[in-house]
């Protein structure tokens, strides 16, 4: 194997790939340099009414009853175990029918603090559901990044089953 030749070809492939990648994404790169994606890649920094929280804060808000939990995972995963009292609003269903994510549908006042969570590894689900909840009128939404996996691992209270089944 000719290492010099391979190195040259590799450099050429990388150059051919990276030039359009940068040129076609200058807008995103500018936003990155401004710090827009420091907290979340899918929600711009400083999005009104949305904050990211960890396990400790989620646990405190659960204990004090100061927040309403929203589970963004599919219904079967919710039924296997969820935060006690959490409402199931699967992203897929809410995307197709946004009426499922309104204050009326959840029977919660719009200014109530919501904590949205998913399975923990894929926080994109929560972020996308948060967009829908904001548009439906909720003004104070927190995304629990660790999600169900972290909640369960911490030994926090859990509830199984679903009324919707």
């Amino acid at each position: 194997m000719d290492l010099k030749k391979t190195g040259k070809e590799l450099a050429a492939i990388v150059l051919i790939a990276f030039v359009p990648a940068v040129l076609l994404n200058l807008g995103l790169i500018r936003r990155q340099l401004r710090g827009d994606f420091d907290e979340s890649l899918l929600l711009p920094a400083g999005t009104p009414g949305v904050a990211f929280i960890g396990l400790a804060e989620a646990g405190d808000l659960f204990q004090s009853g100061a927040a309403f939990f929203v589970d963004s995972r599919p219904l079967d995963e919710y039924a296997e175990g969820h935060v006690p009292g959490a409402a199931s609003v699967p992203l897929k269903e809410a995307s197709e029918n946004t009426a499922l994510a309104t204050p009326e549908a959840l029977d919660v006042v719009p200014n109530r603090t919501l904590i949205v969570y998913c399975n923990g590894g894929d926080c994109r689900t929560s972020v996308l559901l948060t967009r829908i909840l904001r548009e439906a009128g909720f003004s104070d939404i927190k995304i629990f990044l660790g999600g169900w996996a972290e909640w369960r691992a911490a030994g926090f209270p859990a509830e199984v089953g679903s009324d919707k089944e």
């Binding site: 194997m1 391979t6 070809e9 590799l10 050429a12 492939i13 990388v14 051919i16 790939a17 990276f18 359009p20 990648a21 940068v22 994404n25 995103l28 790169i29 990155q32 994606f37 420091d38 907290e39 979340s40 890649l41 899918l42 399975n119 923990g120 590894g121 894929d122 926080c123 994109r124 972020v127 996996a149």
Partner: protein, 145 residues
Amino acid sequence: MIRNRAVLFAFSLIVGGVFVWAAVLKIRDPLAFAQNIANYRIVCNLIAFWIGLLLPWLELAAGVFLIVGLWRRTSALLLSTMLAGFIVLVAVTMVRGIDVDCGCFGSLSGKANLGLIIQDAVLLFMSLTVFLSKADPIRLIGKKS
């Protein structure tokens, strides 16, 4: 070692095709792919952003070159390295118990699980075969090496 030129071309077409398809799906929404990378919880958002921006284009370029036969062995080496990296990443994620979408095919991605490791291993076998084979597969452009 496989020397049949048609088989080597078929391997190039399959591996290159999968990478081109995957790249196009990810190039359409680089932020969503970057979020997928961040979900593995190995790199920070800044690094995930740049990987999300650059990796799909590298997959596209290497995939196209592998299919057309230009810089074939180097492209196969590059794609093999990526596949080996993906296998290690998914295995580590499974061991850590993180339930995550693989992010491989944009919004069409499945879970990062054993099935994905097997799928990547099959592709790795094909790309390594193309890389290591002394025979020159059928090529669409470029001179014979």
